[in-house]
Structure formats: C-alpha cells, structure tokens
Symmetry: D2
Subunit: 386 residues, 4 copies
C-alpha cells in the first residue's frame, strides 16, 4: 500500500465525537444569542448530530452532558440514536450549575456538598451502563477566587478521595477521563489546573483513569503537542476536547485560530501511536454567533485536514534529517506536509466512502436548516442551563 | 503641613465611585449564583451604595448602567440618591445584550443596527442631562470571533462615525470616556482592544473624549502604570474601572490579585497630577461568590490603602536616587512606602472624618445584611440581564 | 488581467529587505554558537545578501546596523553592494551596547548620555546621506528593571526631546521608523513598549515619523493584524521587522511559528493598501542554530507564500459574506485562500522572473556555503558585538 | 511559646543559599554590563557571599556552577569557604555552553554528545563528593527551535536514560534536583518545560530525585503556589530557585516584581510543612544593572519578609473561615498577615542574632564595595562564560 493509500485508509477510519451541547445555545457571561431551529430535547440534538455524521461520515458518536441530556430511559435514547445512524458517546458530568456548588463540588469544604457531587458522578456511571458509553468525562469547575479562600492542599485530598470512589465504581471496559483547565470559572486557583495535576491523580487511581486534553485550557505559550507526546509516552492520553482559542478558553471552532498548531498536535498523535480508538477525539466548542450545524461540520473537516497533513508527513525523511541535525531540512519536511492542500485528497476519501465530497454544500442542499427553523418552534431551546 | 498631614488631607478628599451593577448578581458563563438580599430595583441598589459610602466616607457616587437601571424619572432617581447621601455618577451604556447586537453594535455591518446603537448612546446623554452626570462611559463588546468575519478597518470607520455623532451631542461639562478591552466577549478582534486605539479615537474627537483604563482589560504582562503615566502626560486619562485579575477579565476585588500593581498605578496617578476630580476612580467588579456589599467596602479600602502608600512615597528621596542612577536606592524608596502598614493611618483618617475606623465591622454591626435578606424577598433580583 | 495574473504581477514587485546582522552570529544570553563561513566584514555580509537576492529575486536591499557595519566610506560600501546586485537599505541605530547605556540612552537620566545617544542617531542620518538610505530605524533598549528606578514620565519627555532633534535633521525623502517592544532587555518598563506609544510620538513629530511593527514585540494574545490595519488607516505604518515567536522575542524565521498569523497580517496589508514601497518589509531574525543563508532564503519564501495567499483572497466574495453577516461564509472565503498551496504559483513566478523555481536547491547547488566555509577562515566573525 | 516567638525562632533558622554566579557579571543577549569589583575567581565569589551571610545571618551556603567554578581542589575550596563562615551548597551543572550542545545535551540526537553531557553530570557528582554538597541541580537548556527539528518523544527517552545513569551514581544522602523551564534558550520545545514533566521523571527515578521550582520559569498566569502545594503533597519539592519576573525569565531580585506572590508561595511552604532543610531555598538571579552584593542582601531580606508574613498568618482563624465558607473572611485573614509591616520584627530577630538590624546599611558601612573595587583590578571578571 502506498503512503497515500495508507493515509486514505486511515482517514476513512477516523472518528470525531460531537458534543450534544454544541447543538444548543451558548454564549458568554455578557449574552447568549438564541438561534432559530435549536433543539429543545436530547432527541433533537441527536437528530442534528446525525446530519453531521451523514455528511462527514466521520462523526459517528455523540457525547451527552448530564443533567442537560437527562432522560427517563437512556437505553431508549441509545436506540433513538442508532436508528439515526449514530451512537451515544462519552458521558459528561456537571458539578457546577447547582447553587450548592458556589464554592466547589468534589473539593468543597462541606462534606455534604462533596457527597452530592460524588453521587452525581456515580449516577453518570449508571447512565454509562445504560447507554453503553465507555468514557466518563470529568471536568471540575472547582477552585477559588481569592487567596486564602480555601486550603489548596486539603482540596486536593478531597479531590483524590472523591475520584477514588468513582473510580471504584467503573465497570469492565469503562474509563474515567480527567480534564484539566487553567482557569475559569475559578480565578485564583483551579483544583485541576494543568496536565501534571490530572496525571498525578490518574497515576494513583489506576489504568482506567486517563487525562483528556482540551486544547483551549492552557496558559499562553504552552506547547500543547509536547503534552500530547508526553501523555502518549506515559500511556495516559485518554482523549481530546477540540476547540480553538486566541486568548483564553474561547471555544471557537477547532483549527480556526491556529491551524498549524492543530496539525502539530495531530502529528504527535500519529507519531506517538495515538490515532487509535483508545484516544477519544471529541469536539467541545461554542458556536455563539455562527450557525451551529455547519460550524460543527466545518470543525470536523478541520480535524480531517489536520489529520491528513499529519499522515502525509514523510516520516522517513524527517527522521533522517533529525538524525543528521539538519534543523532546516527537518523543519522543511514537516512544513511540506503542512503546506500541502489536502482538500482534494479528502474529497476523494469522501467519494470513496459514498459521501458528497463537499459536506457543507450537501448539508445546505439538504434543507435541514430550513426544516428545523420551521418545525422547532415553541418549547425551551437547549442551552447550558437546561 | 507635614507630609503625613498632607497625605491624610488628600485621603479625606478621595472619591471612589461604586457601580450599581456590582450590587446585583453576576457570574460566569457557567453559572450565576444568586445571593440573598440582592436589590430588585435601581433604588435598592442606591440604598446599598449609600451604606458603602456611610461606612467608608469616600464612595459618594454611584454609576448607573442603562438599561439595567432604566427608570421613568431620572431626576427623581437622582433625588432619591441624594436623600440617602450619595449622588448619581457616570452613565454606562449597554450595546451588547440585544439580539440585534450579535455581530456588533456601533461597528455592525448593518447601518440599521448601528443607528440603533447610536440612538441608545444619545439616550444615555439625555439621561446624563437628567441626572446631572458628567461622564458617559462607553464600553463596546464589538468585535469578531473568526478571521475574515468582518472588515477590521471598515469597522473602525463605523466606530469613528458613531462616536463623532455622540460626541457632538455632549453638553457643556459632559465627557465621553472610551474604554478599551483586549478580548471578551469577542475572541478574534475587538474593535477597541488597547489604549492606543482608544487614544487615537479620542484625539480625533476632541478634548471631551478621554480614555478610561479598566485594570482587567490588558494582555498578560502589560505594564498598566506605564499606560496611566502616558495618558496623564497626554492629558487623556479620563478615569479608571478598578478590579483585579489573575488571568483575564476576572473582575475580582481591586487589589486582591496584585496589590503591588495597584500601588504602582496609584503612584503614577499621584506623580502625574491625576489625583483630581478630572480623573474618575470607579470600581467595576463582579462579586460572584462573595457577599457583595462587604466586598465593595473592602475594595474601596484597598484603593485607599494603595493611595495612602502612594502618597507616602518620599518623592524627594526618590528623585535624588533616580538622578544618581542608584537603582537599588530608588527602588528601596518606593518599596519603603509600599511595605508600610497604612491601616493605622487610615483608621485615623476615618476617625477624623467621624467614621468608624473599621468600616467592615461597622457594616456588620449595622444589621443591614440581615435586614435586606429578610425584606428583599420576591421580585426579580437585579443582574446583568435586567 | 485575471486575478491570478494580478497576483503574479504583484509578487514580482515584492521586496523584502534582509538585515546585515542576520548573516552574522547571534544567540541567547546563554550562548552564541559560531557557524562556519560567517562574514567578518560588512562587505562579506553584502556578499551573502546578494546570494539571497540572486536566488529569490525579491530581496534587493540590505539593512545596515551602526556600529556593527561601520566603515570608513559608506559611498564605497553602497557601490560595493550595487556591484553585487543589491542596494543598501535602512540604517539601524544602536544605543544599547556601550557601557554608558546601562540605564538607558535617549531616556537616560544623565543629559551627557542622552547627548551621546542623540549624536549617534545624527551620525546615522549622516550615513543615510552617504548611502542614499531612506529609513532610519530606531529601536531603543531603554527602560527600567525595577519599580521606582527612574521616573517613567520624565523618560518620555527626554525621549520626545531627543526624537525631535533627530527628526529635525532628516532630509528630503528621509524617514524615521520608530519601533516598539514589550520587554527585553528592560524588564519592568520599556520606554516605547507598544504601538500606541510609538504612534503618539510619531504624531507629534510629523509625517516623516512612522511606526514599525516587529512581529515578535507584543504581549501574548495581541492581535498584530489589527495593529497593522489601524496603523494603515492612520497613515502611520512605516514598515515591518519580520520574524516569528512562540513565547517572547524569539526571533525565529518569519512564518515558522504561526504561518496563519503571517497570512492574516499580509491580508491586512493588501486590504489596507499597504503593499507599496511606502511600507518597508524587512526581516529581523536570529539564526542561532540553523544555517543562516538558507534560513534567510526560507524566510523570504515564507513571506512570499503568505503574500500570495493574501493576494488570492476573493475579496469580492469576502465583502459579500461580510455584508450579509455570514460568519462562516466569510471565514471560509479567507480560509480558502489560506489553505491553497501557493508553492506551484510561486515556482511559476520565479521561472517567469528567470529564476530557479526552487531557491533553496539552487543555493545549495551553487556551492556558496562550501566556498565561504573554506575561505572565511581567521579574522573575527561578525556578531552582535561587532 | 507565643506565635510571635515561634515566628522569630523559625526566622532565625532560615537558610537562603546564594548562587556564586550572581556575584559575577550577567546580562541579556544585547549586552553584559561589567561592574567594578566583580570577582575573578571562585574564591572571590565566596568572599562576597560571606559578606552576605555576615550581614544577614541567613545565607550560610553558596551554590557552585560547574564549569564556571571549576577548581583543582574542591576540598580546599570547601575549606576556604568554611574559613570565611560559609559552606558550599548545591552543585549546578552546565550542559549548554559548549559548541557541541547546539542541538541539546542529554537529549541530543547524537549519542556522543549525550555521553559527553552525562559524563559532565557524573563529574558534578564527583565534585559533590569532594565538597560534601547534598544537591545536584540539573537545568537543561535542551529543546528545539523549529517544529520538526527533532523527535519530541525520542528526546524524552534520551533524557530518561541519561538521568537514570546519573541517578545511579548518587551516593548516600545525595539528591538530584530537576528544574523545569517553559522556554529560553529553546523557543519551540523545551525538554523539561513544566513541573509535570519534571515530576514524571522524578517518580520513575526514585526518592532521591526531586523537583526544583524556579519562580521565573512559568507561563503567564501560572499559579506557582499551587504547584508548590502540590509538590509538597506529593513529597517531591526539592527546592526553589528564587527570583522574580514581569514577563519571562527576567531573573530580577526575588520579591521585586510581585511580593504578594512570594508571600503566597511562602505561605504554602509553611502550610505544607516545607519550611525544613529538606527543601532548598536558593536564589538564582541576575543583577545586570544594579550593584550585586547589595542586591543579593536585599533579595535575602525579601525572602525573610515574605517568610515572616507567612509565619504570622493566623492559621486557626483561617481554617475557621475556610470551613465556614466565608470567602471574604478567609481572604482577610491572609491579607492581614500580608499587610503587616514585618520589618520591625526582622530587625528584632537580627538583633537577637547579634546582627545589625539593617544589613544593607551595615554592608555599606563595611567599606567592602570600595575595597573590592580598588583591589580587584585586572584579570578576567567572572561571568556566565567563565
């Protein structure tokens, strides 16, 4: 098989999970702009996600967020998804929107609040049992706003204790993905602020605990692909929350702010053996001002393009230049792949998969946007609050 | 008059404006935690602000935010304030919370939206006429999230045109304070992102247009006191929006994150002749998790302490060491003032002003917190949305 | 003329100035790694620069740095350059390497040091007269390391005074380009830290004073293309010092760290009418570990590629999408140009200019690297210190 | 014993190690400004360090840097130090100033260079045997400047292998302190860029491997005290390299840029049981423009003041407020200690230790500065290069 053929084969196996909440409304603390046609129910979110998969062919699963996607019968929801050609993916917990969580959840000074938070996480594992989801994704908004507000170290002890209880509840084939974030909503300390903290906790928990890298959760100047390479080397990269940012956790479409960075990340994934189902490739974005479904399709395509470029790197030439200490030559090999226009290749891949080569045009022609704008009238549009 | 006496005299003339919205609920995009006793009306906000002034003696004015503080009769509102010992201060416009403003306000590509935005600003000047406010504070959320989304330069043209119309409407003794901000809620470009842009617009508008420095609106590493010194040198420092931050626009209590920076800022104010009524010293903060009124009292006290230290700098010794090129000596003179515990001095100042030396304790003893928690039940608590 | 033909025509007129000092050794505070074949004299630097122009066709001028390129006869040096097919470009002053400049140069508290610094700048204008250079590029290392070390505002007064004297000395057709930089080598204040400060000084000086944007001199998160658009709108963009950075002023090859940013900058240049000789496009880089001449060739090619992409933006489609408020559509138009592989186009451009389509391969085949390594033995290699 | 007495007792046991290289010349890549009286030999550095200890009483050890402090007889050097009242401290390796290290040292692609680097580290352990030093401090300048330049992951493998060999050579009671740094001198990747990477390596090496926190080596916005608390919780905090910064690794006097941060760090040290000899408190600074010995004395005093404030925190009141979820109350307890002027307390401590209460004045009166300026004439002043 030629290198190009191998790249195409790999691209056909790609899977990018889309998040149910990205189909709903989102915004900043200043304003949430509502959009026409936004889903009112978890089922309608799945309907939209199914369109993304229909036109891209590589978005087969949908992450749920509890309680935003709470239903009475998760098995029925899973069946609903499968009837539409997609499957339920990771279960995302939420321990930041209840009034009790003003000072934290699993790290809260009050044991009663910690109990409540852990119970919610255990409920999420119950849901995983029902949906068949493999991954429990944990992001904690826990932290403090003011120096002295709470005991930084005691909060780590509480975190470790809560995580251990949830870890113990994980079933065969289930995993816990621990996400880190520099800041927001907490502004002085965050209880899992960096990959090192997440990694240290995962190490103590055991092999089912893995670190998830959200590409928007780092300090300025952080080399994310280095972290990716390191976590793969340590066997602790559980997955990605993809998005992009210029400043903070902007949650823009992945690849929109720094496509070269996304390529470098995907190169380290490929180089480190991470282009496997063991690493979950998920989107986690906010489409505050742009149309949501096309934005998600575009994001999936951006991941595909970065992946294609990463797969096209002439690794033998690269290794040769690196061994020779040829700084410019090695850089040129990498840049040659990056500078390649891979869109024709991806059009071929799509055609070979029986898809329209232009997912966005196909989506537009489908009339789905007009249909949901007309039909989804009344009710409560989904958003972060519900 | 000794230096200490001069410092005390100056401290007694200090005026810190508190923002009506800081008495209401606020939060992050993740959650707004409601608090007991939060005002439901502009009048109740003024009641709370009056307590802050009662106990600190240096918070005589209250900034309004339109439409959050919209009332039928602004003259009556002004009278309401004065009856409680405070006055209405700057009028803050809001051109970011209407659905029309999804892609901007005064910089929007659609002239109809720009018209609406400018009309709102003109209405704010009408309100200033009614309230007797001197300052129109303009912060624009305008910007773009994605490269290419709009024409960066055309947006500047629109901005200039809109500002000029509003400037022309300003009456005798009225001013326009133009605020800049690096990012948020826009994530790719912001139409007034830095002091240079605000300054360039003010220059073209005329002497009534001044720059306002929000201490949380800069890129990491920006030397804010340098900007303060520069704007004072240029005669264009209209005022401050005080708050503090560790990461982005965290809107924590001023002086909480970096008290040394606040001192350095106040030193440049004093050194540059900016400790006058021509510079408006305003708070602009969010008390998301802490009790609001005590947080505002504490913030006012933090400004007082930084000011006291700045006033205590031995400027003659400093100038001597600077002239001599004595790096360590000059730094030591500044640090000597900073390291001084000025709380006893401020207690004296308060006692001489007929106040309790400990404003927070006096507030606690007043029973106000319990009273408003008991009385302000029902209705719609004030927040950023209303 | 088709758009493609127009783009090609524009690309043939492009001019990127290379800096004499980039041909010499450079490094960090930790180590300067010497390389074989590095020039010992200004003439040898010109020899190398002539190779870059020979193979790229778009690097016709060479910036000098005084005193590093001090010679007895500048007219002879200019002739030397022209004999080799290049011309002398901007004159760069140096007021940071004399022991007298420990606490600054033009902003120093001691008038004698200021006099010395201004005299040096005046000497640079004398050199411009002799070389026929149009631009005096001024970068000041001036600043302070410790709060209180010197009077921030007085330093601005001194700066203004010194600049005014030099401005007065400029002849017909000569310009002063004022560069700003956030930090380094000063660590607390820098006397020209941002574009706003440079702009304010240029405004007061007059139309011959223009701002120069070094792409590595900003705080993290700064939107450089916004500054470019703003300065063009104000008629104050004098030129660029191109390089790239991940963290601080890394001085890597332009386009190496964030090629998408370089494209966005060049798009604003094109859109704002800045692709003219009035804007000087200069490199200012350090090739600490990579071979210098190929690195400079590669950098010139990176600028070409970004320019080609910027020229290929379908501006009519872009304007339409922007007017329509089509966020995704407008972004897609821009990204379509960015994602295009313009290397074939540039190979055509080079062939039409009578050049080898692959400048790096042509350089390698030329044997120049081996020749200078063999011949330039002994003597003192050029570097920042000489 | 009262709390104050306990604080005083603790302050009397404090030990801050000063670095031999801070007594020599240093600078930026732009210029090294030489100073009068700078040592020419390791012995003269020890003479200066002895003055710092003489006047502060809490700087009993001096870190060496190999090869800058290479001597023929380290036992004799240790004796020389003890004769002057100080002892030799940590041995700092240098694998960045030899031409071979252009592309790295212990991570270099060429095994011969790696061998050389490891041999140097082993030599450093030999020196520790001779000097009786406990700690080998390892900072690696290793990294890459351009994407693709080398294989990020292979470099980690090489690093692990090299460290393991050196670890195996450590004797009884000897430790390896692994330092991390975000960037500089490498600008794309750094092989030990963050505490997580250092921690992961130390974990695999064993208990004698500990992480050292240089306070200037983090990305903007990083919460250093959180890292300190975490490393203490993990039992992996080996020590500090103290300095301060506004932007990057500015290496200013510790406490000069953000004294509140230093206090918060020292509070976490105290709270986490880190105020013990197991944690090495070292300075690592550059006094580029200020007089070196007084700057070091001042730095030691800054550490003392931050420590004193940290010791004065009313931990019982703090814990109570934290447990009660009293955000403002808990913050106030911390700030109360920070706002205390501890200089009188430290004067008392010094007097009780038989020292002059004002170390800087005592140093000035000693005539040492004049003496060394007069005597140390000729020879080669010490600096980073020798």
């Amino acid at each position: 098989m030629t290198e190009l053929a191998a790249a195409k084969a790999a691209l056909k196996t790609q899977a990018v999970e889309t998040p149910s909440w990205a189909y709903g409304n989102s915004g900043t603390r200043f304003k949430v702009f509502a959009q026409a046609g936004v889903p009112r129910t978890p089922q309608e979110k799945l309907d939209d996600a199914a369109r993304v998969h229909e036109f891209t062919g590589v978005a087969p699963t949908v992450a749920l967020h509890i309680p935003w996607d709470r239903v009475d019968d998760y098995a029925a929801l899973a069946e609903y998804a499968e009837d539409r050609g997609v499957r339920l993916g990771a279960i995302n917990s939420n321990t930041f929107q209840d009034d009790d969580y003003r000072l934290g959840s699993i790290c809260h000074p009050d044991p009663a609040v910690r109990r409540k938070a852990v119970d919610h996480l255990l409920e999420c594992v119950d849901i995983m049992d029902a949906t068949g989801s493999r991954d429990l994704k944990l992001w904690f908004a826990d932290g403090t706003n003011y120096p002295g507000q709470d005991d930084v170290r005691a909060r780590q002890d509480r975190l470790a204790e809560g995580l251990a209880e949830v870890y113990g509840r994980l079933g065969e084939g289930q995993r816990m993905l621990l996400e880190y974030k520099l800041f927001e909503p907490a502004f002085y300390t965050t209880d899992v602020p960096d990959w090192g903290t997440a990694y240290a906790h995962c190490l103590k928990l055991g092999p089912k605990a893995q670190v998830v890298v959200d590409t928007g959760h780092h300090a300025p100047g952080t080399n994310i692909e280095f972290i990716v390479a390191t976590l793969l080397r340590e066997g602790r990269l559980g997955g990605f929350d993809f998005n992009s940012r210029f400043y903070a956790d902007d949650d823009l479409m992945v690849g929109a702010a720094d496509p070269f960075q996304l390529f470098r990340i995907m190169y380290e994934v490929v180089r480190g053996g991470g282009f496997t189902p063991e690493v979950a490739f998920m989107l986690d974005q906010c489409h505050n001002i742009e149309a949501k479904i096309p934005a998600i399709i575009r994001s999936v395509m951006n991941v595909q393009e970065a992946t294609a470029k990463a797969l096209l790197v002439d690794r033998s030439a690269l290794a040769g230049a690196q061994r020779a200490g040829d700084v410019l030559g090695a850089n040129a090999v990498l840049m040659d792949a990056y500078n390649t226009d891979v869109r024709p290749l991806l059009r071929e891949v799509r055609e070979e998969m029986g898809l329209d080569p232009d997912p966005l045009a196909a989506y537009r022609r489908s009339g789905w946007a007009e249909k949901i704008a007309a039909e989804r009238v009344g009710g409560q549009q989904a958003g972060w609050g519900a």
